[in-house]
C-alpha cells in the first residue's frame, strides 16, 4: 500500500501551486481557477485520509466542498461580469479606488 505521506505531499504541492497562481496571475478568472486548485488539493488529502482512516466522513466533506465550490464559482463569475461591465478589465488589481 502506498504510504499516506505521498498523498500528503501531492496535496501540499498542488495547494502550493494553487496559492502561487492566486498570488501571481493578473487575470481574475485564472485566480479563481487557482482557488479551485487549492480546493482540489484539500480534496485529495481528504479522500486519502478517508481511505486510510477507514472512515467515510472525509468523502462526505469532499462532496460538500465540491457543491460549495460550484456555488462560489457561480456567484464569483457573476461578480466578474459585473466588474467587467464597470471597468472592462479582468485584472482585479485595477479595481483599487479604495485604499489607505
Amino acid at each position: 500500500m502506498i504510504p499516506l505521506h505521498w498523498y500528503l505531499w501531492l496535496s501540499a504541492v498542488v495547494f502550493m501551486v494553487g496559492v502561487a497562481g492566486f498570488l501571481m496571475r493578473r487575470n481574475i478568472i485564472i485566480m479563481f481557477m487557482s482557488i479551485e486548485l487549492m480546493l482540489n488539493a484539500v480534496n485529495i488529502s481528504l479522500v486519502s485520509f478517508s481511505r486510510y482512516l477507514d472512515d467515510m466522513r472525509g468523502q462526505i466533506l469532499v462532496f460538500f466542498i465540491i457543491a460549495v465550490a460550484a456555488a462560489e464559482a457561480a456567484i464569483g463569475l457573476g461578480i466578474i461580469i459585473a466588474l467587467f461591465r464597470n471597468k472592462v478589465t479582468a485584472h482585479v488589481d485595477e479595481a483599487n479606488e479604495m485604499k489607505g
Binding site: 495547494f15 494553487g18 482557488i35 487549492m38 456555488a71 456567484i75 457573476g78 464597470n86 479604495m98 489607505g100
Partner: protein
Amino acid sequence: MTLNDLAPLIPLMVIAVSSVIIMLGIAFYRSRAFSGLLTLAGIAVAFITLFGVQGTRQVTSLLILDDYALFYIGLILAASFVVALLSSDYLEGRRENIEEFYILLLLSTLGSSVLAASTHFVSFFIGLEILSVSLYALIAYTRNELNIEAGVKYLVLAAASSAFLLFGIALLYGETGTMEFSRMSSGISAQGINKGMLLTGFALVLTGVGFKLAVAPFHMWTPDVYEGAPAPVTAFVATVSKGGVFALLLRYFIQVDMHAYPSLFGAVAFIAVASMFAGNLLALLQKNIKRILAYSSIAHLGYLLVAFLAGGVMRVTAVTFYLVAYFITTLGAFGVVTMLSGKERDADAVEDYQGLFRHRPWLALIFSAMLFSLAGIPLTAGFIGKFYIVAAGAGSALWLLVIMLVINSAIGLYYYLRIIVVLYAQPGHSEVSAVSSLPLTGSLVLVLLTVLLLWLGVYPEPLIEMIHRMTMRF
C-alpha cells in the same frame, strides 16, 4: 434522527422558510414593503421560537442547540432585524429590484446562526459558506463602482481563505480521525499533543477564521470592504458575520482545550496584539468614517481575543458581554452613517459630519454615545465590556496583554475624540448633512440602540446574569 430531532431546529428552519416564501412571493408580487415585512416577521418568529427550545439539544453530531448557541442565535437575529430595518429606507432608489436583498440577508443570517450552533467541521464549513456566499452578493448589491470592487475583493479573498481553512480542517481530520469538536480532544490525546501537523492544522484553521474576524494580519480587506459595501451591509458584516464566527471559535477552542497548547496560545496572543496595534494605528489619521470604524473593529476584535485567551469562568462571560456591547455600538454607528447617506454616495467622509450637532443634535448625540462606547468611556456598555475583559485578563495574569490593551485604548481615544470634536464644530460645507428628512424607522432604531447602550452601561447586571446562566456549561 426522528421528527423529535427536528424540533430544536425550528428557529433555523423558520429563517430558511421565510426566505423561500419571499422568493416565491417576488415571483408573483414585487413589493419592497411586502418583502421587508416578511423578513422582519420571519426574524421575529424565529426569535420567539428560540424560547421554545428546551434544554440542551444535540441534533446529530453536527449541531447543538444549547443555551450558549441560543443566546448567540438570538443576538444574531436581533442584529439582522436591526439591519433589515435600517436597509429598507437606505436601498430605496439605489437600485431597481431591492426585494432580493432580503432573501440574501435572511440566508446569511441563517449561515451565521448555523455557525453559532455548530459542533462539527462540516456544519462549520457549510454555515460559513452560506454566510460568505450571500455576503458577496450583499456587498456588491447596489452595483456602483465601489460596491463591485468591495464585492470582488471580499469574494476573492474569502474564497482563498476558505481554502486555507479547509486545508487545516483536512489536516486535523487526518490527525484525529474525526470532525466532531467534542471527540477531537480525545483523538488528540491519543496522538500526543505536540504534533507538528496538528498544530499546522490549527494554524490554518486560525487563518481562515482570522480572515472572517478581520484580525491582523488577515485584516487588510476590512477597510476596503467596509467602505465599499452599502452602509447597512457594512453593519451586517461587522456584526452578524463576526458574531457567528466568534461564537464558533470560542466553542471550538474551549472544546479542544486550547490552553493545552502553549504555542497556539502564543499565536492567538500575537494576533490579538497585532490587531490592536494595527487597528488603532491605522485609524489614527484616517479621514473616512467607514474606514475608521473598520479599523476600530479590527482593534476591538483584538481586545476580544484578550478575553478569549483568559481562562476561567469569566472568559465566556467577558467575551459575550463585550460582543453584545460591540454589536449595539457598531449597529448604532453604522446606523447613523446609513441615516445620513445621500443617494449619490454614503456619508463616510469625516467632513460630512462637521457641525452635525447644529443640524441634527439628536443624531450627533447618538453618534457621540456610540463613539464613547467604542472608546470605553464609563456609563456606556463599551466601558463595562472593556472592564470585564481587563478583569478577565488580569484574573488570568495576562499582564502583558492587558497592558497592551490599555495602551491601545488610549490610542483609540484619540481618533474617537477627533470625530466627536468634529461633530460639535462649526458646520462646514457638505451636501450630506442636508439630507431632507430622516426616516422614522431608522430614527427609532437608533434611539432604541442608544437606550440599550446606556442601560447596559448603568445597569449591566441582568444581562451579565443572563450570560452567566446561559454559558455556565463552559
